[in-house]
């Protein structure tokens, strides 16, 4: 028995291993590894996609310009971080509250879950349109409500000061449910015993939440925040369809700026350098979270 087992996982191993993963490896090489390398290559050149003029090698020039002489990049970077931070914090708090709210049995549980799933599965471009209509300063619903309450109407997406907040609101609406569902799954998988013990010891609900639920839920919370942060950093659809980075450049995030550089200005070289830096940032943040989770996430 033992002999058969070891032979099957060694002699058949190498061959079979490749058999299983080879198609995916080929795909990964062509569609993921090559593009990343090509982006690195392009980031050292200037090129407009012209068929007549090939890429022109300029060393680290693009990076230098980007980091020292492109205020749009710095601004976009700060905005990206602001957007992500604000959205994810609000989503975490609201998500936790909702998870606690719908944890445990109640009538219409399946229905409620389905309804809060809708924002995150609905096509982002479509819901962006719906929000666009609701934000519309003259005919939109929000100002209609404000006016009926005798409050001053707002500009929402039409103002430099409110546009980012409005986009964050949409993101919160869209992704709080995901946070809630992940945390709910975490809550469901918590062990019963510590809670029983705490009750016997006379801890009240608030104490149990603070000293048991929260610490036990921490690993799940860190993972949820990690997943959300990665996606929030890369938010594209709703920003591009609702403001395209405007008014002015007030909602231009790195991803939008990268797109504009690539496919509106066709500065493929400097766009590539921007994307490399962006990738490094996202990767760095991800690794940071993984470290945090390793250190504080396990109890």
């Amino acid at each position: 028995m033992a002999v058969v087992k070891s032979s099957s996982s060694t002699s058949a191993g190498l061959y079979t291993r490749w058999f299983f993963v080879l198609p995916a490896v080929i795909f990964v090489l062509i569609m993921i590894v090559f593009p990343v390398l090509y982006t690195l290559y392009l980031s050292l050149h200037t090129w407009s996609g012209s068929a007549i003029r090939p890429p022109d090698f300029i060393g680290l020039g693009n990076y230098q310009t980007l980091l020292t002489n492109d205020p749009r990049f710095g601004d976009a970077l700060i905005r990206t971080l602001q957007f992500t931070l604000a959205a994810v914090i609000v989503e975490l708090l609201l998500g936790l509250a909702i998870a606690l709210l719908i944890h445990g049995p109640f009538l219409g549980r399946g229905f409620v879950r389905t309804m809060i799933l809708l924002p995150m599965v609905a096509t982002p471009v479509a819901i962006a349109m719906a929000w666009l209509l609701m934000f519309e300063p003259t005919i939109g619903l929000f100002n209609g409500i404000l006016r009926s309450l005798n409050l001053p109407p707002q500009l929402w997406l039409g103002s430099r000061d409110q546009a980012m907040g409005s986009l964050i609101l949409v993101d919160v609406w869209q992704w709080t449910p995901m946070m809630a569902l992940i945390l709910l799954a975490g809550l469901t998988s918590l062990p019963e015993e510590p809670f029983e013990a705490a009750r016997v010891d006379g801890a009240n609900g608030w104490q149990r939440f603070l000293y048991l639920t929260l610490p036990l839920l921490l690993p799940t919370m860190i993972t949820a925040v990690l997943l959300r942060s990665i996606d929030a950093l890369k938010t594209f659809d709703i920003i591009y369809t609702m403001t395209r980075g405007g008014p002015g450049f007030s909602t231009e995030t790195i991803n939008i700026y990268g797109y504009v550089q690539s496919f509106e200005y066709f500065r493929l070289g400097s766009a590539s350098s921007l994307l490399v830096v962006f990738f490094a940032i996202v990767l760095g943040i991800s690794l940071l979270f993984v470290q945090i989770r390793k250190r504080w996430g396990t109890i």
């Binding site: 996609g49 068929a51 003259t138 929402w156 039409g158 103002s159 002015g248």
Partner: protein, 436 residues
């Protein structure tokens, strides 16, 4: 036998459905398709058009061309920004299936030509005597020609114009403004935000606003570029123009102007929520169409008001038809372009409301017959003057517009225009250095 009967029935049905037998019989005499050859019958020609009144108008005539030529037309329409992007993406990679397309010579012309994406039409336009290239206005031909390279045939000319509510002006006993100063006074007088009625509406979104702002800039005596190709944004004239535009829109335009391109601004005017709208004259058909516009019967037209340096509105060839350098159907595509820009078709399009580029059409009573008299008058005044470009003449126009458009937004929002302009000035100079 039975097959034949079904066939006959089908033929009869087709004829019934397509209107009347007589109409199809009369095809040969149809002046609109008089010179169209059926040499390319069966060829499929793919066209990419902008979402533009010219497109709406010619769509109605396309079946007649298809009928006469046997060419099958496949049309795709995009909003202008997207069109530009689509074309660049397609043309860069050589993957665009489009044979011919609408493009903005002032926006994409230089880029397309310098990257070898558009076909040089010199060989085509020269050989068509009856079609007559010389009939196109000199300025229009200049716009689409660079050192003998003809990269398109002009289809639409535009001038910036003032649309106003004649009923409201009459009620208040005011005449349309003749100067920018008067414009601001009237906007202030008629502005009534409590009733959701605004003095004026003009585009305020960063990049789209640039073209409409250009007439203000010129009329204040400013311009984009100095003679030696440097940024001209550091002049007091430019600052005055940016200041004026920002103040006007901040004080007397609807909220959210900074997010408006022409469709949004037009919609405000169509819904009767603004006393004045300033934009290209080609949009008048949308304004006087009572199915879209509640102000159809109460709109007046006036020339662009004069600033300190006179009334220097833009007067441009805004759209042209170009041919994909990689097209497999160049001759058939030319057949289409030739037809779409022929004298009878341009006349017809002009009666349908789209100002074209042919002098003979402008000179004929028929060419003006489709326009309201007051509109035609204004267009004729403005055709004779103005500046031939409405945006900086550079290669990467899109990027330049983002730069020079930024202070417009700052102005509308009530920020520090001088600082924003100084920033734009240096950014523009840096851009100009790399643009080449």
């Amino acid at each position: 036998m039975r097959k034949l009967r079904i066939f006959t029935l089908a033929v009869v049905l087709v004829f019934c459905m397509s209107g009347s037998f007589a109409l199809i019989q009369a095809q040969d005499d149809n002046p609109l398709v008089a010179g169209v050859s059926d040499e390319f019958a069966g060829t499929e020609v793919r066209l990419i058009f902008a979402n533009h009144p010219w497109n709406n108008a010619i769509q109605r005539l396309l079946p007649q061309f298809e009928e006469a030529s046997g060419i099958i037309l496949r049309v795709e329409s995009y909003f202008e920004d997207q069109l530009s992007q689509r074309l660049q993406i397609g043309l860069t990679s050589g993957a665009s299936q489009a044979d011919a397309f609408m493009f903005r010579p002032l926006q994409e012309g230089k880029l397309f030509a310098s990257n070898g994406w558009v076909m040089d039409l010199n060989g085509f336009v020269g050989g068509e005597e009856e079609w007559n290239w010389e009939d196109f206005q000199q300025a229009a031909r200049d716009t689409v020609t660079a050192e003998d390279f003809v990269y398109g045939v002009p289809v639409v000319t535009e001038r910036e114009m003032l649309y106003y509510r004649s009923d409201i002006f009459e009620e208040n006993g005011i005449e349309p403004p003749e100067t920018l100063e008067e414009l601001e006074q009237i906007a202030a007088q008629l502005n009534n935000p409590d009733e959701e009625f605004y003095g004026v509406v003009i585009r305020g979104r960063r990049s789209p606003a640039v073209t409409q702002f250009s007439s203000f800039l010129y009329s204040f005596g400013g311009t984009w570029l100095t003679d030696d190709g440097q940024s001209a944004l550091d002049t007091p004239e430019a600052l005055a123009a940016y200041d004026y535009y920002g103040n006007l829109l901040r004080n007397y335009a609807p909220p959210g102007t900074v997010n408006m391109s022409w469709p949004e601004a037009l919609a405000i005017f169509q819904q009767g929520q603004a006393a004045m709208w300033i934009d290209a004259d080609v949009f008048y058909a949308n304004v006087i169409d009572s199915t879209q516009s509640v102000v159809a019967d109460t709109v007046g037209f006036a020339p662009f008001p004069a600033g300190p340096a006179g009334a220097n509105q833009y007067n441009i060839t805004s759209w042209a038809l170009g041919m994909n350098a990689g097209s497999q159907n160049q001759d058939a595509a030319w057949e289409f372009i030739k037809w779409a820009t022929s004298q009878p078709v341009v006349t017809e399009l002009q009666t349908l409301g789209t100002p074209g580029a042919r002098q003979s059409v402008w000179d004929s009573p028929e060419g003006l017959s489709g326009f309201p008299a007051d509109y035609a008058e204004v267009v004729q005044i403005q055709s004779a003057r103005g500046v031939g470009y409405d945006r900086p003449l550079v290669i990467r126009v899109g990027e330049a517009r983002d730069i020079v458009g930024a202070p417009i937004v700052t102005g509308i929002e009530g920020g520090d225009v001088a600082a924003a302009l100084a920033e734009a000035h240096s950014a523009f100079n840096a851009f100009l250095e790399s643009d080449g």
